[in-house]
């Protein structure tokens, strides 16, 4: 069985985000999006159980490829990366179009996503990919089992959870909290260095989506409230009570 996990390289979230002409500034060194680690972990657990091959698919400026390396260090077998000037500022639909084309190349049966990327958070790419590929898609998955014809998923719902079974050629988006992403050890880190990273040429793909979203401007929101700050020396609870009374809550 072949599994593809779509993971994104993003600017280190520890640093402040900056935009230039409506585009997120991306440093040369980008890291693996933490939200994608859950999908990778799930794929690796399936690999260990059912002997699958795990391919990382990543679109965006290559840079040092640190983020892709991090995914390989966790235990993925190889990576397909796609990077082209023309994709800078790609909207969710273009991204999904590119990823679905690359997913075809990967010949994956199961295509795994995060639910929302940390830097783009459109939350629509997985479903769009499934529509491009004419496959079913289930979002907010927490656990997966596989038998000969079906995948059996546990998914988070607004009210609780439910189980879903579906054909094993499908798309899923994985949410946090179902599996605990592994940390690579020294051996994994060394092993990742010799894993293949293949570059896909955009000209070999059939891209029909176009940029329909025109950036106008970014407005700053006045956020700082100049609220009152009290250091607790044992009596600070009193200020809360006074405030709650003033607001007629108590």
């Amino acid at each position: 069985m072949k599994i593809a996990v779509c993971s994104k390289q993003i600017p280190d979230p520890a640093n402040e985000v900056t935009y230039e002409n409506g585009l997120l500034k991306r440093p040369d060194e980008q890291v693996l999006d933490d939200t994608d680690r859950y999908g990778i972990e799930l794929a690796l657990q399936l690999k260990e159980k059912y002997d699958a091959e795990v391919t990382i698919i990543s679109m965006g400026p290559k840079g040092t490829l640190k983020g892709v390396q991090q995914a390989l260090q966790m235990g993925a077998d190889k990576a397909l990366v796609i990077s082209d000037e023309s994709l800078s500022g790609a909207n969710a639909l273009i991204t999904a179009n590119v990823i679905s084309e690359v997913a075809k190349l990967s010949e994956a049966d199961l295509i795994i996503f995060g639910t929302e990327s940390t830097d783009g958070y459109s939350g629509t790419v997985p479903q769009q990919v499934s529509r491009f590929l004419n496959l079913d898609c289930i979002s907010y998955v927490k656990a997966v089992e596989i038998n000969s014809e079906k995948v059996i998923l546990t998914r988070q719902t607004l009210e609780g959870s439910e189980k879903v079974d579906m054909p094993n050629k499908c798309v899923i988006s994985v949410t946090a909290g179902g599996v605990e992403p592994r940390y690579p050890n020294f051996k994994d880190i060394m092993a990742a260095k010799s894993k293949p990273i293949e570059e896909v040429n955009i000209n070999d793909l059939n891209i029909t989506a176009h940029q329909n979203l025109k950036f106008l401007e970014i407005e700053e929101v006045e956020n700082s409230k100049n609220g009152q700050k009290i250091i607790d020396e044992g009596e600070a609870y009193n200020s809360i009570i006074e405030k709650l009374k003033e607001l007629k809550i108590i």
């Binding site: 958070y121 459109s122 997985p126 609780g160 970014i218 700082s224 607790d232 405030k243």
Partner: protein, 305 residues
Amino acid sequence: MKALIVSEIVDGKLSSGSLEIVSKAEELGLEYQLITIGSEEQPIIGSNSFKQTYLKRSPNSLQYNKIADYISNVITNEQINLVFGSSTYQCRDIIAYLSVDFNSSPVSSVIRFSLENDKVITLNSINGGQQLYKTEIDSSISFLLIRPKSFEPANFELNTDFTTIEVESGNCNVYEIHKEEKAGPQLEDSKVVVSAGRGMVDVANLELINKLSEKLNAAIGGTRAIVDAGWMPYSQQVGQTGKTVKPDVYIACGISGATQHQVGMKDSKFIIAINKDEEAPIFQIADLGIVGDTLTVLPKLIENI
């Protein structure tokens, strides 16, 4: 412009997120209709003020592809050029499918929008709401995902007057449906919310949160960190990937105030934060900040209310 509002059902009724979009459509004088997706037997989603079609799926089948096929036809046949949905699980999935059919990327997390000379201009919050990103949609059919709590919901009397269309089952079978019990005030409509983060130190200390919320008749929320840790069910998560709340008072206990949490609560009318780290980002948006230990401040607060 002709609009379609893709809607959903919460607690047997048209969701308040859907009603928010209805009120905005009324305000703009749009010609609009609703299509609501659900599996409920007798939902209260009709109104004398709009046309409502109920796409009823079996609770045991998740066939969003077929649902999207149906809606695609409506969009084409009725020449709709504006399609809305709340940024919630189901509406987001369906809008995503439709965006492929009409080759028009959606705008997610929209909190405001306007129509200027037949152009759709959207504002969505980025950076945890510290900035607003303004976009013009250049498509004959525009798709907008609206963040709940962006507008006041329409105050329409709802009834059971609508057309039902049963959607045939698909490839995804659903079973073992588990619904958590809903007890006490609900997050979305409670006047007071008491929320917990990792700074409650241990799951056992959530007892303090329970006690405080009882005294204040408040709903209980939490950060993703504690939901992921299994301290609280997902239905109580506040933030970008959880619920958006706008209570009169929000009390954040041991919450750092990550941008993804802020998006879900920063529009609360009055924010009280208790955190032992003076530099915690939550203090930037708090109206009253207490620099202190949750485990010493909360017991005294509860005792003295």
